[in-house]
């Protein structure tokens, strides 16, 4: 691959990751081009980029998954490179190829690497070939439930249905009994087809109470591959990560070095280029290869804080032909919490609306990656990630306490989020004790009750507002939150709250 300076980068994404990429590009003196759907014209990434190109209707297929429209936008803007972020087109080999064919640099692995590892089934076969252990599984060419049922009887239920093109837990289903198999295969395939445009699914034996540990790798265009430590991402619900940390606590050093070694072996076998993540299940002192994520990962800031680097800058440098160098020793511990637009008390039901107010935490060891601003719109079209809080500490306990403080400072008015749930989780004995497994969230939810004091405070605030304002609570006289004249502020004196 010829090395070439990137002068103008189009970011084929939205939300916090588009903001994140713009910052690194700007630091490197690269001009940035944002793209946006009709739902995102007022979004932060559009405001921050040097230029912005509209894409069309909000639906992903018309906008952030629309290869033709994105390439046209890049050519119109005179971009010489495209960063795909994560999700959307980031792991589509055809997109990487189309970018290269259009004469631009794709900031990520080339299509042949994606073909080798981006497809989960192909990656399994590669792992087997280089002697990396995999979970027992069944490659389903068709969605014929009878063959699946046979595999289930041999291996035993529960089973896990996964999408070959999957990621982020989409198109994934746990199947407890043979009777549920047909419906699960169908639903997973439909979800995968909707999310990735590829409905192929396969089956794996469900490993009970495993930990989910992944290794960050970087590969350059000259055959160099390095590993930058591991991240424990066991705290998930519906197979989507909620809390991640690095290093993986209580992981024996011998197991850690076997994991890093397996990741590098896989990377070499795939001739891996740019940033990638090799995911493993860990159960006891056994580990199994899960998949390679051929892109930047949502939780990459954990690695950045411990290794004191900028992985997006690394990606851009690699894309420009720079070699990777062995990293120094990592330092301290980092924890990330994903604040999603979801109601944790009601099965993480998605929430949409307008952000009326947002307060982001600050302080030593606290980082916030977000696209949240006052008046930001959270629409139903895209995933629910609003903000990532990442806290660093000299040790896990310091990072954990900083996270507790940061979540306590976080406030957002307008829609339900997972922040209060996360505050309770980070404060729990189970998390403090690092009792990590993928069963953490279901077990935590079984005993979790939202803090009563917060509800009481909210009820008092609501009652006070109604008393000092109009007769009925919050009758919608004004419909724009920022223009709403609160009865409290209308009092003309600011302390204490009181009737007029």
């Amino acid at each position: 691959m010829p090395s070439r300076r990137i002068k103008k980068l189009l970011i084929a994404n939205r939300g916090e990751i588009a903001v994140r990429i713009i910052r690194s590009a700007r630091m490197m003196g690269i001009r940035t081009v944002a793209i946006f759907s009709a739902a995102d014209s007022g979004a932060l990434h559009v405001a921050l980029a040097d230029e912005a190109q509209p894409l069309g209707a909000p639906e992903p297929a018309q906008s952030y998954l629309n290869i033709k429209a994105i390439l046209e936008a890049a050519l119109a803007a005179g971009a010489d490179a495209i960063h795909p972020g994560y999700g959307f087109l980031s792991e589509r080999a055809e997109f990487a190829q189309a970018v290269a064919d259009a004469g631009m640099t794709f900031v990520g692995p080339p299509s042949r690497v994606m073909d080798a590892v981006g497809d989960k089934l192909a990656a399994r076969h590669l792992a087997i070939a280089v002697g990396v252990p995999v979970v027992p599984g069944l490659d389903l060419d068709s969605r014929d439930p009878s063959e699946a049922r046979r595999f289930g009887e041999e291996t035993g239920f529960p089973l896990l249905v996964k999408a070959a093109a999957g990621g982020g837990g989409r198109g994934m289903r746990v199947v407890e009994t043979p009777a549920d198999l047909g419906a699960a295969l169908e639903a997973a395939s439909r979800e995968a087809a909707a999310a990735f445009g590829d409905g192929r699914v396969y089956l794996e034996k469900f490993v009970a109470r495993p930990r989910h540990v992944e290794v960050q790798i970087l590969g350059d265009n000259h055959g160099g591959i390095v590993a930058l430590g591991e991240r424990d991402c066991s705290i998930q619900r519906r197979h989507q990560k909620l809390v991640e940390e690095s290093p993986a606590p209580n992981l024996p050093d011998s197991l850690r070095s076997r994991l890093l070694d397996a990741a590098i072996r896989l990377g070499r076998a795939a001739d891996y280029r740019n940033a990638g993540t090799v995911e493993f299940l860990v159960a006891g002192d056994q580990f199994y290869f899960l998949e390679v994520n051929a892109r930047l990962q949502v939780e990459h800031p954990l690695t950045e804080l411990r290794f004191n680097r900028d992985l997006v800058a690394d990606q851009l440098a690699i894309a420009m032909g720079e070699p990777v160098v062995e990293p120094g020793a990592p330092r301290g511990c980092a924890i990330e919490c994903r604040i999603n637009a979801e109601d944790a008390a009601h099965d993480f039901r998605p929430a949409t609306g307008t952000i009326a107010e947002v307060v982001l935490p600050q302080g030593p060891g606290v980082r916030v990656d977000t696209y949240l601003t006052r008046n930001a719109q959270v629409t139903p079209y895209y995933d629910s990630l609003l903000a990532k809080l990442i806290c660093w500490g000299e040790d896990r306990e310091q990072a954990r306490r900083r996270m507790l403080g940061a979540l306590g400072e976080f406030a957002l008015l307008g829609i339900e989020t997972t922040a209060a749930f996360l505050a309770d989780l980070i404060g729990s004995e189970a998390f403090a004790a690092a009792a990590l497994s993928t069963a953490f969230i279901p077990e935590f939810l079984a005993t979790w009750r939202p803090d009563d004091a917060r509800l009481k405070a909210a009820l008092l605030a609501a009652a006070l507002r109604s008393r000092s304002g109009s007769a009925t609570p919050a009758v919608a006289a004004e419909n724009h939150p920022s223009r709403t004249r609160s009865p409290w502020t209308a009092l003309g004196r600011f302390e204490p709250w009181s009737d007029r």
Partner: protein, 168 residues
């Protein structure tokens, strides 16, 4: 004063007993609560049970949104609650969020028990299935697969179940 928490439909009775400066005495569902409610450099704060919470609120279309520290609550307004009650005995299944109808799992005239799946929606790339909250008969279906729906859109009208014990 009654407040209905939108996420759970639970009703709370709040009564302000008295106020002395920033100290507020109130009863919430009969239990007495004493809180200090002040305006500080952080904006409004409520000090309650030894904790200090930062509070924001805003009137929304049919509700009052209140953020308390990292938590968020949406209370239905009296008007919003009334509107729902006016549905004259008939129950309506409405979209909990904007999205797209994937599957309609019942037909008009069908009698359903509590917990029976009625309709599958897709929003934020996740599938959500709405189930009957109680025994009912499917009176009218307003949507079909691929229909795009807004938050609160009426999907299905339910009527009283034809059971002799049919109460609410």
């Amino acid at each position: 004063m009654k407040f209905v928490l939108a996420s759970s439909n639970r009703e709370y009775e709040v009564e302000i007993i008295d106020r002395d400066g920033s100290t507020v005495r109130a009863r919430i569902d009969g239990a007495e609560v004493v809180a200090r409610m002040e305006t500080t450099a952080l904006g409004r704060v409520v000090r309650l049970d030894g904790e200090t919470f930062r509070v924001f609120d805003a009137a929304q279309r049919d509700s009052l949104a209140v953020a308390v520290g990292p938590a968020h609550f949406t209370f239905k307004t009296a008007a919003g609650v009334r509107r729902r009650a006016h549905a004259s005995g008939a129950l309506q299944v409405t979209a909990p969020m904007p999205g797209k109808v994937l599957k309609v799992l019942v037909v008009e005239g069908q009698v359903v028990a509590a917990g029976v799946p009625l309709i599958t929606l897709e929003a934020m790339k996740m599938e959500t299935t709405l189930c009957a909250e109680g025994a009912a008969v499917v009176a009218k279906i307003h949507v079909a697969p691929e229909t795009k729906v807004d938050h609160g859109a009426v999907l299905i009208d339910l009527g009283p179940a034809p059971s002799p014990t049919g109460s609410n």
